[in-house]
Amino acid sequence: MSSMAKQAQQRVGLLQGTLDMLVLRTLLYGPAHGHQIGKHIQRTTNEFLQMQHGSLYPALHRLEQRGWVSAKWETAPDRNREFKYYRLTDKGRKQLLVEESQWKQMAEAVARVMWPAAGES
């Protein structure tokens, strides 16, 4: 296998876990459809993640498959058409806590290595 392909896969792997967490966190505000979730993440990160909407859908379906979110076609309150709304399940709420603490631990660990002085003070 070429090294380029490997790198690409690793990056996706890193993103995947993070993206799942971001999606779950977004849904904490209430049910939303794919476009809304994407827009929300983009706006809140100031477009930093530069993600394409599309990459959201595999993640959403994965979360649904695992039972962390549930999905249902519903009519949007502001317009007369149906969207597939995702909402957080109880299992998803717990998962969000788990992922959040994991992320925190990792961020702290990385921070301690990167900025040792700040950690000591």
Binding site: H33, H35, Q52, H53, H61, K84
Partner: protein, 883 residues
């Protein structure tokens, strides 16, 4: 995720993505982007939809299935691109798998499947052994006298029965039909643990002489002849001219094998299924005969926990008691032989079946090797493609999957076709099964057979796919892509592997061809052996006289005499004769001739086959009388006899037997016979062995209810068939004439089994030869293409066409020669296995071995010549310029 839900969910996803696009587009437009551009921007923002869908599918967990179906689709597409290769491969595999499955089904049914009776493993057949006669009859059927003694005293058996099977006329009208009757003592129902589904079994008291006129119908007869009428119980049918009351009908699932005691002399293969069960009852005189009535097939059910050897010891003890109480003139040492029932039925059919199975497996092996070869060549041709795939990041596992998926599709197709082929072959082969084994109704490829085919397909794909897969997985993209020439030859190791494969094919084919050669030579010798009688322009008929109206010799002989007179008067008839049986169609009257002055006990006298004949018997089938004369009708009533050379030498060693006397049966009461002629030893019982001692007595001395009529004609005998039947019926319309056929047909039928085995082997060998030829052709053609430049260079440097031919032939024939040697070694190694099937041919017969090798060399050379011609016509300039 179930696969059938994928479509629905896919549509769902599609819609989801679509609404995202629309929303995004709307938003862009609201931000003031022109509508045309907004659409593109939305697309960009969403990303690659195909990729999204693929990743979502993976999230659903359906990826594995999709890969599989994709693989299959891809493989099929690839295979359809080379239809020739695909067709050859699938047909090769189908042929091998089909043949093996068909024979396996047969073997499985005959040897492995338990007999269709409850606890069939406890069923044993019982035979008697008489030490004094053991050199002629290793075993003998059971006597009623001994049987009744065993029944009273043995403790090893749950139940026992004696059987005798022969056809009798059913009904009393003109031209009655024959039905096959199993005459059995009442024990048969408990031995086989079966009861009639309608009515009842016959009882022990109905098994006694005088009460025995009851019958139980087999299901098929009840269905066909009595329209499955339940009211048939209590009705009366005429069996052999006597009334029998129907008391029961057997269940549909009940079948009995034909249980005829196949004597050491001549085996009759009657293939009619049993249609009626009726009591076998013994008269007082019969039961009193201590040594004279060894006639019945013994079948018994062992008590639970009793082994065959324990039961044998039990009966041997009883036999010892019987032996001790025998009269002085009948002194004999008795014992028994018990054999598991299934073993008795399989008998000596085991070996041919196993050989056929092995041959079919060999064919499959050759097929697999050939497919491997083709796949290897294909893989070499695709090296570039594979190298590119590897360079682009295909993992090793993916590459092996790519390599193996084609063979899996091929093997599946081959296996499926093989099952079809097998289901076509099995019924055709079943007709050739000996009747003792062929009693369970129509055979077809069942789940076991289909499972076998699929297993074979799986093994075949492993066998054939392993080498190419290995080669592909080792592809080193760098080397392949950097190799200087696209036409660079295949690797040395690969070429060696391909040659070794051809060697294996050739070895197996040589062994098969050799085996076929041996069986063919054997059959040819068997058919051309000096049988001592002739068959030209001779038509035969079998007669079965109803017992009721032809109870004694007087009536029978009178009828036979009239028939002969009528037939003799027919136009075109040269000679006509009647005898106790047709040549090669069995012979069952054995008796002990006592030469005057010999006072040994009966059991120590030599046993001869006694055949009653009409005077013209010898001239009709040209059986040569080498000394003396034959009896003439003018000597009606006189006790005269002819003896065979062997009998003459045994009874009167060194003396002229003509004019001497001997007696059959008790010399005190029976009139002695005077020998008037000596008949040449022939092969009238079995083509494979010289006849045993024979005595010919005139038909006015004794006759039986069954007879063989032989008519030598001046015209084509088949034209006479109807006339013969009508002539017999003009004498008595109630006499069944089951079979009218040419004597050549009777002779050919006596070796039908051997012929069938030979044909099947011939088919396998020819297929293997063809495949081996194809293999050689493939390898040589490929190597010629690969060596195009080398050959061009040689020719440019002055090589002659002849030397190019030599080069290619040597290349191709080397593995053939090597394989041939291995094949001969293989065949000679397994010679012991076949030697008992051969007639006057040694399994090491040099001519056959040389012949087999020559056939292979010829096929190999032919397969090499085409590519050699191609090589010799290489244009040096063009070959060198090609890059």
């Amino acid at each position: 995720m179930k696969w059938w839900q994928i479509k629905k969910r896919d549509a769902d996803l599609e819609q989801e993505l679509q609404s995202d696009l629309e929303l995004e587009e709307e938003e862009q437009r609201e931000n003031g982007v022109p509508s045309e551009e907004a659409r593109y921007a939305a697309r960009r923002a969403l990303g690659n939809t195909t990729l999204i869908r693929e990743q979502t599918h993976e999230a659903w967990g359906s990826a594995a299935f999709e890969h599989l179906s994709q693989d299959i689709r891809y493989a099929i597409r690839q295979l359809l691109r080379s239809p020739g290769f695909t067709a050859v491969t699938v047909l090769t595999l189908a042929l091998g798998i089909g043949a093996t499955t068909a024979i396996f089904t047969l073997v499985c049914d005959v040897m492995l499947r338990p007999l269709p009776f409850a606890r069939a493993d406890r069923l044993v057949t019982v035979e008697e052994k008489v030490t004094e006669w053991s050199n002629i009859y290793p075993t003998l059927p059971v006597s009623a006298n001994h049987f009744s003694f065993w029944q009273r005293h043995s403790r090893s058996f749950d139940s026992m029965t004696l059987l005798q099977q022969f056809p009798v006329p059913l009904g009393s009208s003109d031209r009655p039909q024959q039905v096959e009757v199993m005459w059995a003592t009442p024990g048969i129902f408990s031995v086989l643990q079966v009861q009639p589904s309608l009515g009842r079994a016959y009882t022990v008291s109905e098994g006694q002489k005088g009460n025995e006129h009851v019958a139980v119908l087999m299901y098929d007869l009840w269905h066909q002849r009595f329209n499955a009428d339940p009211g048939v119980l209590g009705k009366t049918i005429q069996l052999d001219g006597a009334p029998y009351t129907i008391v029961g009908v057997m269940p549909r699932s009940f079948h009995v094998p034909s249980m005829q005691w196949s004597s050491a002399i001549g085996e009759t293969d009657r293939s009619r299924p049993v249609e009626v069960l009726a009591p076998l009852a013994f008269s007082k005189e019969r039961l009193a005969e201590e040594m004279g009535d060894l006639n019945y097939f013994g079948l018994a059910r062992l008590n639970p926990g009793v082994s065959v050897s324990a039961a044998t010891a039990d009966l041997d003890g009883l036999q010892h008691t019987i032996s001790e109480n025998l009269a002085a003139n009948e002194k004999a040492t008795l014992s028994v032989a018990l054999t598991p029932f299934q073993d008795t039925l399989v008998g000596n059919n085991r070996k041919p079946l196993i050989i056929l199975l092995a041959a079919a497996a060999c064919l499959l092996l050759v097929g697999c090797v050939n497919v491997t070869n083709l796949l290897l060549a294909r893989a070499v041709g695709r090296r570039q493609q594979m190298a590119v795939a590897a360079a682009l990041g295909a993992s090793r596992a993916e590459m092996v999957r790519m390599a193996i998926r084609e063979i899996v599709v091929l093997a599946t197709a081959g296996g499926g076709l093989g099952i079809l082929l097998a289901s076509g072959m099995v019924p055709a082969m079943q007709r050739y099964l000996p009747p003792a084994l062929n009693f369970r109704g129509p055979l077809h490829v069942d789940w076991i057979g289909a499972g076998c085919a699929l297993l074979l397909a799986f093994i075949a794909s492993l066998l054939a796919g392993a080498a190419p897969a290995l080669m592909i997985s080792r592809t080193a993209p760098f080397e392949v892509l950097h190799s200087e020439s696209r036409l660079a030859g295949e690797s040395r190791g690969n070429r060696r592997a391909r040659r070794a494969l051809v060697g294996i094919e050739v070895a197996v084919s040589v062994a098969l061809v050799l085996m076929t050669g041996l069986l063919t030579a054997s059959l040819v010798r068997l058919m051309s052996v000096d049988r001592g009688f002739t068959t030209e322009r001779t038509i035969t008929a079998t007669l079965e006289l109803p017992g009721k109206s032809y109870q004694d010799d007087q009536h029978r002989t009178a009828f036979y005499k009239t028939v002969l007179e009528h037939v003799d008067r027919l136009p075109g008839v040269e000679h006509a004769a009647l005898a106790s049986g047709l040549p090669l169609d069995g012979d069952d009257w054995g008796d002990m001739a006592r030469v005057q002055g010999d006072s040994r006990p009966d059991t120590q006298l030599p046993i001869e086959n006694v055949r009653w004949v009409s005077p013209d018997y010898f001239s009709t089938i040209h059986l040569e009388v080498i000394a003396g004369r034959i009896f003439s009708p003018g000597e009606w009533g006189k006790n005269l006899a002819l003896v065979s050379e062997k009998t003459a030498k045994t009874l009167w060693p060194g003396r002229n037997p003509i004019g001497r006397q001997f007696s059959l049966g008790n010399p005190a009461t029976e009139k002695p016979f005077t020998v008037i002629g000596i008949v040449r030893d022939a092969r009238t019982v079995s083509l494979a062995k010289p006849d045993p001692m024979l005595i010919y007595v005139p038909y006015w001395y004794r006759t039986e209810g069954t007879a063989g009529l032989m008519v030598r004609t001046r015209q084509e005998p088949s034209e006479m068939a109807d006339t013969i039947r009508k002539t017999i019926w003009s004498v008595d319309g109630s006499v069944p004439v089951p079979e009218v056929r040419a004597l050549t047909g009777v002779v050919a039928d006596s070796v039908a089994n051997q012929r069938f085995e030979m044909y099947l082997l011939l088919l396998f060998a020819a297929s293997a030869l063809f495949l081996a030829g194809l293999g050689v052709y493939g390898v040589v053609t490929y190597s010629v293409v690969q060596r195009n430049r080398e050959i061009g260079l040689r020719m440019a440097l002055g090589a002659q066409r002849a030397s190019v031919y030599r080069l290619v032939l040597r290349d191709g024939l080397l593995p053939v020669a090597g394989g041939a040697v291995v094949g001969i070694v293989l065949a000679f190694g397994s010679a012991r296995m076949v030697s008992s099937l051969l007639f006057q041919v040694s399994p090491y017969d040099p001519a056959v071995a040389v012949g087999a090798v020559c056939v292979l060399l010829a096929v190999g050379t032919t397969a090499c010549l085409l590519p050699a011609r191609r090589a010799a016509s290489v244009d040096p300039m063009r070959a060198l310029r090609t890059e």
